[in-house]
Every structure is written in structure tokens, then in C-alpha cells.
Amino acid sequence: MLQPLRQFFRFQESGLLIVILVLGVLLTAFAGTVRTPKFERTADGARQRVFITDAEGNRTPAFEEKNKFLNAQNLAQLAKDTSFIAIMAVGMAIVIISGGIDLSVGSIYALASVLGAMVLHHFGPEGTALAPLAACALGVLVCLATGALCGLANGGLIVALGVHPFIITLGAMAILRGIAFVATKGQSIGGFPADLREFVRFEMGNGLSVVPLLVMVLVTALGWIYLSRMAAGRRVYAIGGNEQAARFSGIRVGRVKLGVYVLAGLAAGVSAVLSLGYYGAATSGDGQGYELNVIAAAVVGGCSLTGGRGSALGVVLGALIIQMIASGIVILGIDQNYSQIIIGAVVIAAVVLDNVNTWLAKRRLTRA
């Protein structure tokens, strides 16, 4: 009886799961209820309002009381929002574990979205018509390639110039968003082939968009495999833990670093594809401030900013915590403007907790 419990607590991410459970319970308890119209599905699958016919034959629309947090629609929304951040956070985790940081993910996301949107628009219904499937494929490819290339540029500059990644990616954050703005002249770009939107927005049950969710699961799994099962991932931990020792062990540090920034860029590209499909338009202002949420997710998820520590699953749970807090702010009716303050405070609290934990572990070692 105790054994599985003990194993659960030894499991690295169990703390995060507990936090998520507690947050969920608290939100459910304090969210209150909302009256929503009731829907049902007809035989041919269409949605229609439910009406109650009373004894006199009057039809009145039916309503139901739902918990504001714990209802299918809100949870589906939460899952979708989480997936955009979580995908980028997996890339960020790899960078942070290697001892680096990437501040430009939000801008990479914007540039990839915008360039992808331009391609989709060009070959979409309003432009040179191409087979919709080919147009979509091309758009997706451009998105991913843009992400990877931006990452390559970041990594290349960091390795070649030997400048701290904070500086390079801070510059890239401004430059890439600037390029996105110049390319679009600040305009929103839409008019994509309908197929992409239909695919990404494919819903199951009560408005649950499964595609972003599945992509998130896939990216998490790939990130987990990369970090814990592949030689490349081991090298990432090694250079994050002790770059000099890694070099002394024959690890090509520059090459590994280049790789992690490409992966972070690619993850931003994947998120950009989903956002194009989901929102059907892109502007150069997309993803503003995402770097805060993404880094927050990674840090809350257990990545150490000094490098060498963290996991893919942890950061996805971290992303979920960040989104639950963001969504909680809406549900509890707190002024939206406070969300940045609260998320910022959560990041600092997470790092302080982590430091306390490290200190305790060190003390245990000394006592032993």
C-alpha cells in the first residue's frame, strides 16, 4: 500500500501534479456557477437548443447550471491554450537545460506565423489558386522552416561570437518581430485555404479541439525521448551541468548548443502552424509576451536556469499550471490586467522554492 505511494512521491513531477490538483480543486470551489443554455444533438448531428414544453404547451428554452471552472467547455479551452505554450516550453526546456536561454521564441512564433500566413494567403482562395492540400503543406513547411532557421541563426551567433545567449536572443527578439512587422506592413493576413482551419479546429464532444492537444502530446513525447533516451539529450544535460567537463569528455559543445536553439525555434514554428489553423489569420503582433509565459512554464516545471536540470514532462505540467492561473484570473473575475503581475510572481516563487529545496538537499548531504 505504502510502496506505490512512496514511489509516486519520489517521481520527479509528483510535486507539480499535486499543485495542479490543488489548483483545480480551489478553482472549482471558488469559481461559482454560470447559467448556460442547454444544447442537444439531433439525429443528423446538428446542434440545437433544448426546449421544455410545459403542460400548457408553452415552449421555454432550457438552461443548466455549470461550475465556471469544471465544465467541459472551459476545460477544452484550457487544454487548447496550454498546448500552444507547452509546445514552445518543451523547446525552451531543452535550451534552459543546456544552460542557455531563448528570449526570442515569441518573435520567432510571430515571424513564422506571418510568413506562413503570407504563403497560405498567396496560394489561398483569394490568390493564385493551388490545390488546397499543396497550399497547406507549403504553408506549414514555411512556418516550420522559418522557426528552425531563426533558431539556427540564434545558435550560430551564440556559438560563433561566444556572446551570452541572453544578449543574442534579446536582440533577435526585437529584430525578428521587426522583420515580421515590415513584411506585413502591420496588417493582419488571412484568407487561407479552408482545409487547414477545418483540420486544426476539428472538434470532439463539447468543443474540444483535439489537434493542438495531440500535437502537444506528440511534442512532449518527442522531447522526453530526446532528453532522456538519446545521446544528444544526454549531451544537453552534460553541457548544462558543467560545460568544461563536457568539453573535456570530448563532447562538441558548439554543435550541441546550435542544436538546442534550432529545436527551440522549431517548437515555436510548430506552435505557429497551430495558431494559423486555429485563428485563421496572423499579424506581426502575435505572441507578444509569450517568452514570459514559456520561460515561466519551464521554470515552474522544474528547469534550473543554471542548466543541467529539468524534464519535458515537467515543463508541460508547468505550462498547465501557468494556464490554469491565467484562466483562474478570468473565472474568479479578477481584473485581467493583473494576470502579468500574478504570473511574474509565480515564476519568482517557483525559483525561490527550488532554491530552498536545493539548500535542504545540500544540508542533508552534509549531515549524512
Binding site: R229, R234, Y237, N242, A246, I251
Partner: protein, 499 residues
């Protein structure tokens, strides 16, 4: 009359008991030597007095009153200052600014009073007769000059006790003489000095009393006239240290494995030519700064400025390339285990496999079974004492960490092992095990080049010893001529008549 008293001082670091109930006393106005091998706890003791560390147990007394400096500032206020080996100043600020950093002379509205600053700095420097420009940036000074500035800062702020940690280790002969003159003057002024060093000759020249530490324990405190260097050496090392007759000596050496041809690196070492045969343990001795570590690092491809040739098994390898060195099966156990040898946050298995990832992985996947088998084999063979393969290396003792760092190269099946300070920060028991292990490796036909600052270690272990002096090969001592005196003479460049 004792001025400073240590009573049962104990200090523990993760995995190491650095000081174990050390008690002794120091009279006022004397220069007191603290000597011991690396890891004996002499620096730790000095740092506890200066507030860098706090003792876990025991008591310090200054002039009869118990003290417990919680940090260097508190120690300063008690009149205790420390002169550090490493940079203790802000390199981009001037000598004057650094000297007055804790107490800048100010004008109205918190503006720094520059003339007053300069005047005060000049006065502090003059009080120790140091000829240093107060406007020079600290970063542009030599180590010796910077040490003088540290001493000036200590004396200028009213220190009564100065702890000097290996002050002469990176000084030239001339600078060392200057330092000695200064120490004598300070003593004459009634200051008490604690001189941490392992250079016997200096201590006998300079100090009044000597305390010997071994493995964190107090061995003896004696007046200098009452003891001799030989006596101190025997106190330092105890008896068990030497592996007297390593087995590899009985076997004929095999073919040449490693040859360095005119290996040079500007400013570090030049024209090093040596060869190591299978089954040999060749020692590389020299004083700090002679270029020993730099030479083995260059042989491993770590020095981008190196010229000359590295030949392994009669095949020259590309210099300046770690990949080439690894492909030729050279392994380097670096000098600084924590910074260069291990990733402390990873576990035993991951550290052991770190250099073998290309061998252990297929299509980028780590073969976990093979990895575990390999790590387990070397953990057993090297008798690493760790709860499991998954134990984080940072929590192990120095000796076990060193074994893991060595296991990394054995797992890679290296023919040539470059071993830099095999037993630094390792306790006595583990030392003996590491010596036995190195002997065993030589018996198996590996070629070992061992760098060490501890002469008894080289004398006990090696087939022959090469001596470096100022970056050049000063000579070779065959086993038949092994003695500390012979080596020291070559290391220090003293003619044989002087010995």
C-alpha cells in the same frame, strides 16, 4: 601567552570531513606556519578564522575571548584579515578604489572625494612600503603586486591578524623575497601572521612555530628551532603513503604508446619531447606554474595554440583536436575534478558513460542496458562506494568522485591515460586504492603519464620522472636515482652542490 586559540574545531563538507577536532594555540606577534598535504585542511582552518567558513563545532578564541566570525566582514571587525590566492578585488577598479571600497571618503551628497581617496590609498601603500600606483587598475597588476595591495588593505583597516593562504605559490623569486621582508616588518609591528603553505624551506626561514595537519587532524605544533624539515615531512605524510614497490616495475615495458615531439604553446611551455611506453608510469613533476597541466592538456588537444606533434602508437594525430585524441584512445583525468572532470549534477552511470556515448548509442539512441552494464563493471572494478549507479556524483566523497572520473576513461578503453593530480582532495584510504589501481592499469599494458604536486606520490608510483621547469623539460630521473632532493633540485633549478 596564547593570542589565538583553536579548540576542537570541526568542519564538514559534503562527503568530506575537512577538519576533525583541531586544537592548538598561536602566541601574539608571531608568524605561525600551517602545513599539510593538499586536502589536509590547512586552508579550511585559515578560512574559518577569517570568517569565510563557519565551524560546525568547536571554539575560536581571540585574546581570551570566544569569537565566531559569521562572515569575512565580521572577522575584519575583529581585526582578522585574509590574503587570498585568488582574485579578491574588483579587477576593473583602481588600486585606490579597491583599498577604500568598504569605507569610501565622501563629500556632500555622497560624491566620492577623489583626492582624499588617493591620499588615503597612498598612505596605506606607504605603510607597507609597497611601490604601487594607486591609480592603476587592479586587473593590470601582477599577482605579487595584487597580494601586496591585499596586505595593504588588511593593515590599513587595522588588522591585527593576517591569514596568508599559499602567498608565494604564484610569485617570482624576487617577489617572494619582497613578501618575506614585509612579513618580518609586520611581525616586528606586533601583528600575528598565519602562513599557510606547503613550501618547507619558506616556512623554516620565516616562521616561529609550525602546526602540521593531516587529513583534517592536528598532528603537531612545535617551535621551528625544535623541529626539522624531515620531521615535519614524516608528520605530514604519516607512514602508510607510499606504494613501495609497484608491480608494474617487474614487467618489461612494451612498445611506445605516446610520443610528444617539440610540443609548444606560447607563454605556457615550449619544446616538450617525451615518450611513454606501454606498461610504464611516467611522472611529470614541477613547481606550480611550470607548465605540467598545460602540457598534458595540450597532448589531449585542448590547447588551441599548441604546436608540435602528438604521436600515438606511431601514428601522428591532429593536434588541437579532442576528437582526434579520443579517436587515438587518449584519456585525460583533469586536475580540477569538480570543474573539468565530472558533471556533478548527473549520476554515476551518466558520468561514467559520458565519454563513451558514441560507442554506447545506436542511431542516436543510448543503449541503456549496455550503458548500465558498462557503468556497473567499472563501479565494481574501481570499488566505488556509492549507494547505486543512480547516485548523484556531487554527493560522493572526493575519492569516489575521482574513481568515477577515472572510470569515464576506462569505460572508453583508453590506451594512454594522462592523469593530472590523481589524488588531490582524496582521503588517505582512497589514495592507496587509487595508487594500486594505477599500478594495475600499467600492468595491463596501458601507458600512464602522471602529473603530481606530491613528490612522495610520484616517487612511489613511477617508472621514471620527468621534471619541468618554467615550461621546459629540465631533466629525467630514473627510478634508481629517485629522491625528493634530486627532484627538488631539478624543479627549483638549484645546482647539485647546493643540496
Amino acid at each position: 601567552m596564547s593570542y589565538i586559540e583553536f579548540q576542537s574545531v570541526t568542519k564538514r563538507f559534503p562527503g568530506v570531513l575537512a577538519l576533525d577536532g583541531v586544537s592548538f594555540a598561536i602566541p601574539r606577534g608571531t608568524c605561525h606556519a600551517l602545513i599539510g598535504e593538499n586536502g589536509a585542511g590547512k586552508s579550511t582552518l585559515g578560512k574559518i578564522l577569517a570568517g569565510v567558513y563557519t565551524a560546525d563545532a568547536g571554539e575560536l578564541r581571540l585574546d581570551g575571548k570566544p569569537i565566531a566570525p559569521a562572515n569575512p566582514l565580521a572577522a575584519r571587525q575583529l581585526g582578522i584579515a585574509m590574503v587570498h590566492q585568488e582574485l579578491a578585488f574588483c579587477p576593473n577598479m583602481s588600486v585606490a578604489e579597491n583599498l577604500c571600497l568598504g569605507d569610501l571618503p565622501l563629500r556632500a551628497a555622497s560624491f566620492v572625494d577623489r583626492p582624499a581617496l588617493r591620499a588615503r590609498a597612498r598612505e596605506m601603500l606607504a605603510s607597507i612600503h609597497a611601490d604601487i600606483d594607486p591609480d592603476a587598475l587592479i586587473g593590470t597588476l601582477s599577482t605579487g603586486k595584487e597580494q601586496l595591495v591585499q596586505i595593504a588593505a588588511a593593515v590599513g583597516t587595522g588588522a591585527r591578524v593576517i591569514v596568508m593562504d599559499e602567498p608565494s605559490s604564484s610569485l617570482s623569486a624576487g617577489e617572494t623575497r619582497e613578501l618575506f621582508t614585509l612579513v618580518r616588518k609586520l611581525k616586528a609591528r606586533g601583528l600575528t601572521l598565519i602562513y599557510v603553505s606547503h613550501r618547507m624551506s619558506e616556512l623554516f626561514e620565516l616562521c616561529d612555530h609550525i602546526t602540521v595537519l593531516r587529513d583534517g587532524r592536528h598532528v603537531a605544533t612545535e617551535a621551528i628551532p625544535a623541529t626539522t624539515p624531515a620531521r615535519v615531512v614524516s608528520q605530514m605524510i604519516g607512514r602508510e603513503l607510499r606504494a613501495q614497490n609497484p608491480a608494474h616495475l617487474a614487467r618489461p615495458a612494451g612498445p611506445e604508446r605516446l610520443r610528444l615531439e617539440a610540443l609548444s604553446s606560447p607563454g605556457k611551455f615550449s619544446d616538450i619531447t617525451l615518450s611513454v611506453r606501454a606498461g610504464e608510469i611516467v611522472g611529470l613533476a614541477g613547481l606550480v606554474g611550470a607548465g605540467r597541466s598545460e602540457t598534458v592538456q595540450a597532448a589531449f588537444g585542448l590547447d588551441p595554440a599548441a604546436t608540435g606533434r602528438v604521436v600515438v602508437n606511431d601514428k601522428p594525430i591532429a593536434p588541437r583536436s579532442i576528437e582526434a585524441a579520443l579517436a587515438a584512445r587518449i584519456g585525460l583525468l583533469p586536475e580540477d575534478r569538480k570543474r573539468q572532470g565530472l558533471v556533478l549534477g548527473l549520476n554515476c552511470r551518466e558520468n561514467t558513460a559520458l565519454a563513451s556515448l558514441p560507442v554506447l548509442s545506436r542511431l542516436g539512441w543510448v543503449r541503456r542496458g549496455a550503458e548500465r552494464t558498462l557503468a556497473d563493471r567499472y563501479q565494481k572494478r574501481l570499488r566505488v562506494k556509492a549507494p547505486s549507479l543512480e547516485t548523484i556524483v556531487g554527493g560522493l566523497s572526493g575519492g569516489n568522485q575521482q574513481k568515477i572520473a577515472l572510470a569515464k576513461w576506462l569505460a572508453r578503453d583508453c590506451d594512454v591515460l594522462l592523469i593530472d593530480e590523481p589524488t588531490r582532495g582524496v582521503d588517505v584510504g582512497a589514495k592507496a586504492e587509487i595508487y594500486a589501481l594505477l599500478d594495475e592499469l600499467a600492468c595491463e599494458g596501458k601507458a600512464l603519464l602522471v602529473v603530481s604536486s606530491e613528490l612522495p606520490e610520484l616517487l612511489g608510483l613511477c617508472t621514471r620522472i620527468l621534471v619541468l621547469r618554467n615550461g621546459r623539460l629540465a631533466g629525467e630521473v630514473p627510478r634508481a636515482d629517485f629522491s625528493e632532493a634530486n627532484l627538488m633540485r631539478l624543479m627549483a633549478g638549484v645546482e647539485s652542490a647546493a643540496a
